[in-house]
């Protein structure tokens, strides 16, 4: 059975001014699975990830060419409502970036944007999100406390809970564990595995072991090009491209 495709890019190019950062990228991200994007630093992993929810729009001088589809929606079509689009795509950043508000209000933020203001509903959805992010037990008795008082790993899981609260279809994670210690990293990795039944997850990482541990599909990029994409196990054991083989055997990068 062919899996449903959640995100599809077709001959997608992106320029930062004159710098050609993504070159004719064509990628399919299967639904309800984890896709890892790996590659050396500066190859365009974050740029590609941020193209899916048009976060690159914020950078002056960015131009794009080609197509990105999300659940069939043409992401870069002139009529696309970017705000609406981003509500369907959660994003978790490299450095945990909780708001300087209470734990509760961090998770409730996206819901409030959607106009959810009833206390009972907010409380229920905040709890669900925190449970899904495997943080509930640790914070249930201090929801009113500042999110900034949490540890780095807890902050990152809070950011995941915040993204999950608005029920996105896709969760994009840009090196979500790169600033965390090994224990916290392990918890985030476990969490990613738990979440994939419900969400489509794309994780950027420069850690190949991590990609091998958590992803079903892996895409390997180099200098703006998508070199190879395939089922994770086979990409790591039987790479089709010489470049991929060199990279995963550590001959460079």
């Amino acid at each position: 059975m062919k899996p449903e495709i959640r995100i599809r890019t077709h001959d997608f190019d992106l320029f930062y001014g004159a710098h050609h950062a993504l070159k004719s990228v064509s990628l399919e991200v299967p639904a309800n699975s984890v896709t890892a994007i790996i590659g050396p630093s500066g190859c365009g992993k974050s740029t590609l990830l941020r193209s899916f929810n048009r976060m690159n729009d914020l950078i002056p001088g960015v131009r794009v060419r080609g197509r990105v589809e999300l659940s069939g929606l043409d992401v870069y079509a002139p009529g696309t409502d970017v705000v609406e689009l981003r509500r369907h795509v959660g994003m978790v950043f490299q450095r945990a970036n909780p708001f300087p508000k209470s734990i509760f209000e961090n998770v409730a933020y996206g819901l409030r944007l959607l106009g959810v203001n009833r206390r009972a509903e907010l409380e229920a959805r905040v709890e669900t999100s925190l449970r899904r992010a495997a943080l509930w037990e640790e914070v249930r008795d201090r929801l009113g406390r500042s999110a900034l008082a949490l540890s780095g790993g807890q902050q990152q899981r809070l950011c995941i809970a915040r993204a999950l609260a608005v029920e996105p279809e896709v969760v994009l994670m840009d090196e979500p564990a790169s600033a965390l210690d090994p224990t916290a990293t392990a918890r985030v990795e476990e969490l990613v595995l738990e979440l994939k039944s419900r969400y489509t997850i794309v994780v950027v990482t420069h850690n190949m072991q991590q990609a091998a541990r958590i992803s079903d599909t892996t895409a390997f990029m180099m200098v703006g090009e998508l070199v190879e994409v395939g089922e994770t196990r086979s990409l790591f054991t039987r790479p089709r491209q010489k470049l991929t083989e060199d990279y995963i055997t550590g001959r460079f990068g």
Partner: protein, 326 residues
């Protein structure tokens, strides 16, 4: 040639420790410590001198000094309420006008303006902050006052004259003029500090908000919210400046010692009455009363600062959402 007694020379530029280096460090530390201590001593001496000068007035009027409305050098009876009131009203009005303007400017510059516009406007704003207050006073007297007298105040009286706030005669000078001049004087403080505070908030907060489906305005609101303690600090600083401002206010407030509900009426502030009457205060009690006003002004700024700090502490650390604790 015998070199038996020569000390082998160190190569040029080689690091060497002077024997007194450690001692010099210690002296340096103590020297700076003494200077820091000196600040406290100076403040303590000022407080002592003011309190001593205010003594006769405090003994003569007690607490009544703060609530009394009579200011009569002939009968030698003094009550400072009109001046406390004038300070509160003119500064309050100034903050009311300056906060939206200053914060709006800061948000525009930090979040929306193109880089070059930001640079240009910020430069002008900094420039405004460095204009001597007498210049603002002259402007208030010769530009703003005629404008208020002929246009603004008649209009206010005509349309809002049913409010006690806008009743009376359009003098041009008075509380309203002082409030506006003070507002213009403190807008640069609020705008430039708030702008810097906004620029210092991490861009990742705006990104987080946008990624959750916030509009640009909603993302900016998150940044402003994060900057709130700092903005509060800027506002308190501005308020301190308004409360203490003397020259410009003395020129435009009209210097009457009557309390009036109307913003169009002339008044006085604590600072302006001291400036106006200090040189002509002949009697000992008269002089002492003016010094007591200085003491009150001093205490007021002290309390205000302490209050501001507590607010900031509360806003940053113990921010809690009690209802969130389900």
């Amino acid at each position: 040639m015998s070199g038996a007694l020569t000390v082998p020379a160190l190569p040029a530029g080689a690091p060497r420790r002077r024997p007194g280096a450690r001692w010099a460090d210690e002296a340096y530390r103590r020297g700076l410590g003494a200077l820091a201590l000196l600040v406290f001593v100076v403040v303590a001496l000022i407080v002592y001198e003011i309190a001593r000068g205010a003594g006769p007035s405090i003994r003569a009027f007690g607490w009544h000094f703060l609530v009394g409305t009579e200011w009569d050098p002939v009968a030698d009876r003094y009550g400072a309420l009109p001046y406390v009131f004038g300070t509160a009203v003119s500064s309050g009005l100034a903050m009311l006008l300056a906060l939206p303007l200053g914060l709006g400017t800061a948000i525009y510059l930090a979040e929306l303006a193109p880089h070059r516009v930001d640079q240009a406007v910020s430069f002008v704003v900094e420039l405004l902050a460095s204009i001597p207050s007498i210049v603002y006073g002259i402007w208030g007297l010769f530009v703003l006052a005629p404008l208020l007298r002929t246009l603004v105040e008649p209009w206010l009286i005509q349309h809002f004259g049913f409010l006690p706030l806008f009743q009376g005669f359009p003098f041009g000078i008075g509380m309203l003029n002082a409030g506006i001049v003070l507002a213009i004087m403190v807008v640069p403080t609020i705008a430039s500090l708030s702008r810097e505070i906004l620029l210092a908030t991490p861009p990742s907060l705006r990104e987080a908000a946008l990624a959750l489906g916030a509009t640009r305005a909603e993302a900016i609101a998150v940044a402003v919210d994060a900057a709130r303690p700092g903005i509060l600090g800027a506002v308190i600083l501005a308020l301190g400046r308004a409360v203490g401002e003397t020259m410009a206010v003395t020129m435009v407030i009209g210097n009457s010692n009557r309390i009036s509900a109307s913003l169009l009426a002339p008044g006085s502030t604590m600072a302006s009455v001291i400036a106006n009457e200090f040189t002509e205060a002949t009697g000992a009690l008269y002089l002492s009363a003016l010094v007591e006003i200085a003491l009150v002004l001093f205490a007021l700024t002290l309390v205000m600062n302490a209050f501001a700090r507590l607010l900031v502490l509360w806003a940053t650390g113990g921010r809690s959402d009690a209802a969130g604790a389900a």
